[in-house]
């Protein structure tokens, strides 16, 4: 089939610049003594769409993202993202289903390097525009975060018998199932609603006195937060709800307000933490 595809393509490129102000009520993913902070994020993205043939698209992007925390500068980070996507229209027209696969890589470097790592994600998706107002999509994915540094620091567990535990508490892998729908209210306003269910590793940072040794699969002192805090990795599940409102200011600018609420539960025991994030974004399309 691929031999019949014309690879003489003309790309349709885009450059986006996003400036975001966010409030995250639990940056440490803690079950108690949560740390909240405001974040300022600047992200520049370049991408290209290529129409190959027969409803087949190849897209790629690269972005550079800098996030600064208002109080917790130890969490400031730079992310270099890149991703590719192959999608296929099943039929012709604006309302036919589209199936596809995308792969993305994110290289994250934090001010305090304990969280530094590379995030790899792969996803298969199905999407369909129901009419001029409604879009819907479903995706199934897998993501894995590889930390860059072997932590050999203070590994004294607060209780035994955890000496055989890994220190790689930020190295996580998760399976994801998500569904999203978007409705255009009029030519300027649209609302997007999404739900995502994730199953895999979760990481939470708490005071060493708060942890539950029977639940964790890795632990490490969380030097980004401070003495006495440990990051623990557990098996768990996460349910996230997303709500976005886009307002088109002009052909070149869009304002976005978004709300994300996540509930994270361990598979064993009753360990639970929650996170809410509110963001305001200005997007500039070049």
């Amino acid at each position: 089939m691929l031999s019949s595809i014309s690879f003489r393509v003309i790309g349709d490129s885009f450059i986006d610049l996003e400036l975001t102000l966010s409030s995250n009520d639990n940056i440490s993913n803690a079950s108690d003594n949560e740390i909240s902070d405001n974040l300022y994020q600047l992200e520049l993205t370049y991408g290209q769409y290529h129409y190959l043939d027969d409803g087949l698209f190849f897209n790629w992007f690269a972005s550079l993202d800098y996030t600064q925390y208002s109080s917790w500068s130890t969490f400031d980070h730079v992310v270099l993202n890149t991703g590719i996507e192959l999608e296929k229209k099943i039929g012709m027209g604006a309302y036919v289903p589209v199936v596809g696969v995308d792969v993305s890589f994110s290289n994250k470097n934090y001010n305090v390097d304990i969280r530094d790592g590379i995030d790899t994600a792969i996803r298969v998706f199905w999407k369909k525009r129901l009419n001029e107002r409604w879009d819907t999509s479903v995706a199934l994915g897998f993501s894995q975060y590889h930390t860059k540094h072997n932590i050999e620091g203070d590994i004294q567990a607060p209780t035994t018998p955890m000496n055989t535990l890994s220190f790689d508490a930020f190295a996580v892998s998760q399976k994801h199932l998500s569904a999203n729908t978007q409705v255009s209210l009029n030519e300027k306003n649209s609302i997007s609603m999404g739900v995502e269910y994730s199953d895999g590793d979760i990481t939470s940072t708490v005071m060493s006195s708060s942890w539950m040794p029977e639940l964790v699969t890795a632990r490490v002192p969380d030097t980004a937060i401070g003495e006495g805090y440990y990051a623990y990795r557990l098996d768990g599940k996460m349910l996230s709800l997303n709500l976005e409102w886009d307002y088109i200011l002009s052909d070149e600018y869009t304002f976005r307000a978004s709300y994300q609420s996540s509930n994270i539960n361990s598979d064993l025991g009753s360990y639970e933490y929650k996170r809410k994030k509110i963001s305001l974004t200005i997007i500039k399309y070049f």
Partner: protein
């Protein structure tokens, strides 16, 4: 003989006046009770007299990933060429009953035009850029025009007749096809009509440019 000749001359003058009468019909459209409705198709169909239609060729460009102009009237039997003036490819198609066609992946000017034989509305799309929408109104009446920016259209030199008036616009929320007006002699008729237009909801250009991260 002279009386006969005089009668013939009078009859001839009467017929001439009858056939050269030049009525005028001016239509002004507003949308939703306020703004002028531009780019609406206004069509007059004479009930009694036939008018020879002469197909014309038209051009619909693709500029900045839009069809330009967005609404085009073509006389039945006319051709339309679809030059691509963007520096990317387009894939023009239509599924409409009045004309189904496809111009797969091309750049520049196509040598061949598309012929439109059947009256009706042809909705254009691009299989790459889903937001692109264009409309071709294929008409069997030469009395078919688009309203201007002020929402008006003027038909001049209309022969005396009864005309069926139809109005079409992609956002029109009502059936405006069966209005009749009789024009006599030098009639000059002005019609003001307010129509209900649905809010325009176009597929957005910039949506979902990149949404594949798990945050």
């Amino acid at each position: 003989m002279n009386i006969r000749l005089s009668k013939l001359i009078l009859l001839s003058i009467f017929l001439q006046v009858g056939t050269t009468s030049a009525a005028e019909l001016r239509i002004k459209l507003t949308k939703n009770g306020e703004l002028p409705l531009a780019n609406a198709v206004v069509k007059l169909e004479p009930r009694n007299h036939k008018v020879k239609i002469v197909p014309q060729n038209k051009v619909i460009d693709q500029i900045n990933k839009e069809f330009v102009p967005r609404i085009v009237i073509v006389i039945q039997g006319g051709d339309i060429n679809f030059p691509n003036k963007d520096n990317i490819k387009h894939h023009v198609y239509s599924f409409s009953d009045a004309k189904q066609f496809e111009l797969p992946l091309y750049e520049g000017v196509l040598a061949e035009s598309v012929n439109f034989e059947k009256p009706g509305v042809v909705v254009l799309g691009c299989n790459i850029h889903d937001w692109m929408r264009g409309y071709i109104y294929v008409t069997d009446s030469p009395y078919t025009m688009l309203t201007n920016r002020e929402g008006t259209v003027s038909f001049e030199s209309l022969p005396e007749d009864t005309y069926k008036l139809s109005i079409w616009h992609p956002g029109l929320n009502e059936d405006l096809k069966n209005m009749s007006y009789t024009l006599r002699g030098e009639d000059s008729l002005e019609i003001n009509r307010d129509v209900v237009i649905k809010p325009v909801v176009k597929i957005r250009r910039n949506q979902n440019r990149r949404r594949n991260r798990y945050d």
